[in-house]
């Protein structure tokens, strides 16, 4: 089209293409304009259609509605843990014994793969309430240690039997393939003995 738009000095005839449409004085053919406008509109429309087609696979309203979990912690004895369910995954809620708290605080941060203090892993004023996801950060198995009599691993916290990751009493990774500590989900204490997760 660009050649056509050249001012034709010698030949004073408007260029005409095979379908008979002539360029205007500014060299822009009405047909080119319509073509670009139509194809752009179709392109934008086509992309807009992708949005609902992709979005429909994201969590639906009923799944999102179940995305918070309330846990009553009053009955958990020191040294005991319970398993709750948060977003269809296990949630470990554990009350540490004073000895476990001390053990966790005694570890030098520099020796940790994913450095975090016990204070980082818990909420202020609730140093003994350890709330973590029960999902190993290696490949997603459920670690042992929350149930009565389960193997708690070499560091007295949790132990993942799938690939042998050991977590300590603050749920920090100490040995084995897992890259990070057990995940602490977002939660808050709504009363002294009630937490709302999510």
């Amino acid at each position: 089209m660009a050649e056509m738009a050249e001012p034709a000095a010698e030949i004073p005839v408007k260029p005409v293409d095979a379908t008979g449409s002539a360029a205007g004085d500014d060299g822009v053919r009405r047909r080119d304009f319509l073509n670009i406008a139509a194809v752009s509109a179709a392109g934008v429309g086509g992309i807009a259609v992708l949005y609902p087609l992709i979005s429909q696979m994201a969590p639906s309203a009923d799944v999102l509605a179940e995305s918070t979990t309330e846990v009553d912690t009053s009955a958990i004895e020191p040294g005991q843990a319970i398993k709750a369910v948060f977003r269809k995954q296990p949630l470990f809620v554990r009350r540490l014994t004073p000895a476990e708290v001390q053990e966790a605080q005694a570890v030098p941060l520099g020796s940790l793969r994913d450095p975090a203090t016990l204070e980082d892993m818990t909420k202020p004023g609730h140093l003994d309430m350890l709330v973590t996801m029960g999902v190993c950060t290696h490949l997603g198995c459920v670690p042992l240690g929350a149930g009565e009599g389960e193997n708690r691993g070499e560091f007295g916290g949790y132990f993942c039997p799938c690939h042998g990751s050991h977590y300590d009493t603050a749920a920090r990774i100490r040995k084995g393939p897992a890259p990070t500590n057990l995940v602490v989900p977002e939660y808050e204490f709504t009363t002294d003995t009630t937490i709302v997760v999510g």
Binding site: A18, A38, A42, P52, L53, S55, M57, S60, A61, D62
Partner: protein, 430 residues
């Protein structure tokens, strides 16, 4: 498979040349819907509906696959899972309304496509195979639509499944066992719902395969046209691209405007409110009707009320199936050497003033309750319907004197074909 003056595909660069040698897919596209496919220059908008039907099929497959991600084919939860799609799934309401209205619009499009074939006699040689494959597609579409309608497991779904499988019970001796076998039980339940779901997912792909054969068969003689005069020379044709890509694109735009008016503003207009009541095997809705696109056939089914040699029930079922199967014979029942209705004065009268009104009456009666005067009207219209195909069309087509045909498509368009352009020529004659 194409006219000698069709443009040849030229790979533009080394890469497309490499592709062309290994898998000439771009060449196929070029020759099918590109500049390499010469098409009669005089096609009117009735020739848009094939492409629109293809669009509808693809849209049904896309929205259907999405619905299948959220739907549960179990009689306990199917209804609830559809409500879950409507209320919880992101854009689920859009997917479902687009799919449900998409089915209706698919039938609108296909009826106009068939109407085009009937008026312009596109079914005549050398296009019989295109037509026959079309009838096969239509039968598959009916089966698919019926089974899809069962899936939401509402009252109309359930009773539709019961009534339609009940058609088979009309077959003497083996009828009842066949119905039980089809349902996998004595009434529609989990077994029926699951097999309907499986087949409803499968059949659209069978349709897609048959459409490929349909278009393959079409590309051998190429499209017919409103004059029914075959292409003679290059000036009778224009390349598919850009001429018909643009014309089809424009038609698609109009189609989408109308379609989304329904999806967004009248999403339940074409549906039946009773299907929002969960299936109840113990109570039949007062007035059960199929979806609107089955009404003419439903009217034929109900037109038979007295036993005659065989039971009325069996007559109804036979007539209903025969009303479509008879289309297979159409290329041989119509004996006129002229295709287009524009040049067939007598055929045209019977078509507009006999056949079309009969179809309209059948349509209205099919959606009406099974009472008088609808029963009597459907009986008359059913009789006329078969009379048209078996008596009127063969006789009229054999005896009428057609009007004078144009010499060529070019002449029909330009009122002159003094300079017929033969052979190599990139621009159409003027």
């Amino acid at each position: 498979m194409s006219f000698p003056w069709a443009k040849q595909y030229q790979p533009a660069n080394g890469f497309t040349k490499w592709i062309d040698e290994k898998l000439p897919l771009p060449r196929l596209v070029y020759n099918a819907v590109g500049a390499g496919y010469p098409v009669p220059r005089n096609l009117n908008y009735m020739w848009n509906f094939g492409v629109l039907a293809g669009f509808c099929l693809m849209m049904q497959i896309v929205t259907g696959v999405v619905l299948a991600m959220h739907y549960a084919a179990n009689a306990q939860v199917a209804f609830a899972s559809v409500e879950h799609i409507m209320r919880d799934v992101n854009w689920g309401w859009l997917m479902r309304y687009a799919h449900a209205n998409g089915a209706s619009f698919f039938f609108v499009v296909i009826y106009l496509h068939i109407f085009r074939g009937l008026f312009y006699s596109s079914y005549k040689a050398p296009r019989e195979m295109i037509w026959i494959l079309g009838v096969v597609i239509f039968l598959l579409m009916m089966a698919t639509a019926f089974m899809g309608y069962v899936l939401p497991w509402g009252q109309m779904s359930f009773w539709g499944a019961k009534v339609i499988t009940g058609l088979f019970s009309a077959i003497p001796l083996v009828g009842e066992p066949i119905q039980v076998w089809l349902l996998g039980g004595y009434a529609p339940d989990n077994a029926a719902l699951n097999r309907f779901y499986s087949l409803h997912f499968l059949l659209p792909f069978v349709i897609a395969g048959t459409v490929i054969l349909h278009i393959w068969a079409l590309h051998i003689p190429g499209s017919s046209n409103p004059t029914g005069v075959e292409v003679k020379s290059e000036s009778d044709t224009v390349p598919f691209h850009p001429y018909y890509t643009v014309k089809d694109g424009f038609g698609l735009g109009i189609f989408l405007l109308v379609f989304f008016t329904f999806v967004f503003f009248l999403p339940n207009f074409l549906g039946h409110p009773d299907n929002y009541i969960p299936a109840n095997p113990l109570s039949t809705p007062a007035h059960i009707v199929p979806e609107w696109y089955f009404w003419p056939f439903y009217a034929i089914l109900r037109a038979f009320t007295t036993d005659f040699i065989i039971s009325a029930k069996l007559w109804g079922v036979i007539a209903m199936f025969a009303s479509i199967l008879i289309w297979f014979l159409l290329p041989w029942l119509d004996r006129s050497p002229v295709r287009s209705g524009h040049y067939r004065p007598l055929f045209r009268k019977f078509f507009w003033f006999g056949f079309m009104p009969a179809l309209l009456v059948l349509f209205i009666c099919g959606g009406a309750p099974a009472e008088q005067p609808y029963i009597m009207l459907s009986q008359l219209a059913t009789a006329y319907y078969f009379l048209h195909f078996l008596v009127i069309l063969p006789i009229v087509s054999a005896m009428e004197t057609p009007e004078e045909l144009p010499y060529s498509i070019t002449q029909a368009v330009l009122h002159s074909d003094k300079k017929p352009v033969l052979g190599e020529n990139t621009s159409p004659a003027v």
